[in-house]
Amino acid sequence: MKTRTWAPYALIAPTLVLMAVFLVYPIASVGWFSLRHHTVTQPWKNGFIGFENFRRMLFEDQLFWQSLVFSAKWVVVEVGLQLVLGLVLALIVNETFVGRGLARSLVFSPWAVSGVLTTGIWILLYNPSTGIFQQLAQWGIGDAGTSVLGNPETVFPATVVTELWRGVPFFAILLLADLQSIPKDLYEAASVDGAGRWRTFVSITLPHLRDAIVLSTLLRAVWEFNNVDLIYTLTGGGPANQTTTLPLYVARKAVDSHDFGYGSALTMAGFVILLFFSILYLRLSKFGSRA
């Protein structure tokens, strides 16, 4: 149905307007703000200061570099574990067994839970007076110890496990969708040829899943890089800024100290990193070959 009418433009107009006003214009204005001193609390000091924010960020701000390093660590650990566990979970619920539908609904359900609610649930589990570790210690399993979130040695693994609870279903859902598209006769042929379970997995399943794995990993890496809700509410970036990611740093500049100028400069740094990811994504998703 090739056409030269105005119809498609009218149909996408609302989307275009919303994107222009709430996505494109804000990005441009971040660039402008990053060159200014701009705080809500001391508006009389606001003004153009050139690249001063960037100089401060790159050369004086220890926390900026620290947050970048932690962001990288967070993304690598979280996405890596989610991928492995998600793949295993997808393979399990792809098998045929009694109660499979119910099992799928249950193991996928944390996907729908918000970051703040996840925090609430796990704070109840981790709390040092009536939490799960105290309960286990009562039964003689392990040792109650102290608050896992207050202890610098356990705060990272505790945060990682919390986000895994909510994040693994994402990979499991996506990979399950792809698993279901593998033609059954491939497996029958493999079984006729006497291929074992492992051999079948390596030669048929994994190659078929490759594209889905690459793209979901990239999407998830971006998502975990941007993930603020959970860390903001669970640790607040602490103790001692140990769990501060770059977007969390930006959010704290915006929400807590209302330092819009410097926060915008930090945002620009984030955009550069995200730009790299998006180019990679578009290349790998073979965007060009579709049109």
Partner: protein, 293 residues
């Protein structure tokens, strides 16, 4: 199905019974299938169960079964703390976003799937790129826009912000669904004298019911769960949403875990129910649209 999540007695269901058919009687299945599945189910369900126990057992009790059951914590948060109002705000924002996103996604998705037009490729590219724009990074400029437009502390403002961030992905998903409806059906109706608009409403729209349910539900879940926009743009307590209320509860109820848990149950039940209904579409929808670009 998911009522089991809020009904503690059945949460720790026994593992799925071993299959009865003969060809499956393979003892290694217990180790590679049932054991990991049960372990993972425990990992998923114990946190939910923990919240439910805290929400329904009397203050001071450490029993692992919420019996005798009490609703005192729900009374505290719903009436005392204002979760009743937060729930209403979240519901308005969730349903509002659902409606706007679904309508615009249908329009745009139809345009992408059924027309070839100049600038289509650029539009699609822009939609894909938005998946990389983080809400957290946009807080500052959006705050300035909202302030000058008088949209701070307004539920409408939050619907607009949530819509802007959810629409691109919803539109991509919807265009995938529209493409799956055979265009011939629509063309046949048009040959029979229907206008394009009538053909759409009479032929294509009924076929899109599952897609509408799926896209709408994701929009609802996304808006219901959004935290940062609500935190930043609605600072008055009568405009708080459930995630914002919960985040304050995390700080203030440091000792009152029962109240925190009850607030959590209130926030969880609607999305978990919606999710149970659309879980199957999620598997189809995401593989059709988003990931394969």
């Amino acid at each position: 199905m998911t009522q089991t999540l809020t009904r503690p007695a059945t949460v720790l269901d026994p593992p799925p019974a071993p299959p009865r058919r003969k060809k499956h009687r393979d003892p290694s299945r217990y180790f590679r299938l049932h054991l990991p599945l049960v372990l993972y189910l425990l990992f998923t369900l114990i946190p939910f169960y923990w919240m439910v126990v805290f929400a329904f057992r009397p203050a001071g009790s450490t029993s692992l079964v919420p019996w005798p059951i009490t609703f005192e914590h729900f009374d505290t948060v719903w009436n005392g703390v204002g979760f009743g109002v937060f729930f209403q705000n979240s519901l308005i924002i969730g349903v509002g976003t659902l409606v706007v996103v679904t309508v615009f996604a249908l329009m745009g998705g139809y345009a992408l799937a059924r027309f070839k037009f100049r600038g289509q490729r650029v539009f699609l590219l822009a939609l894909l790129c938005t998946q990389f724009i983080p809400g957290a990074m946009m807080l500052i400029p959006l705050f300035v826009i909202f302030k000058s437009a008088g949209l701070l502390n307004s539920l409408t403002g939050l619907v607009i912000a949530d819509t802007a961030f959810q629409l691109p992905l919803a539109l991509i998903l919807m265009s995938g669904f529209v493409r799956n409806v055979p265009v011939e059906l629509e063309e046949a109706a048009m040959v029979d004298g229907c206008s394009r608009l009538r053909a759409f409403f009479a032929v294509t729209l009924p076929q899109l019911k599952p897609a509408i349910v799926a896209v709408g539900s994701f929009a609802f879940i996304g808006a219901w769960n959004n935290f940062l926009f609500a935190l930043m743009f609605a600072s008055k307590q009568d405009k708080f949403t459930l995630p914002v209320g919960l985040s304050y509860a995390l700080g203030e109820f440091n000792t009152d875990f029962g109240a925190l848990a009850a607030g959590g149950v209130i926030a969880a039940v609607p999305v978990v129910l919606v999710f149970a209904v659309v879980q199957r579409f999620l598997v189809q929808g995401l593989s059709a649209g988003a990931v394969k670009g």
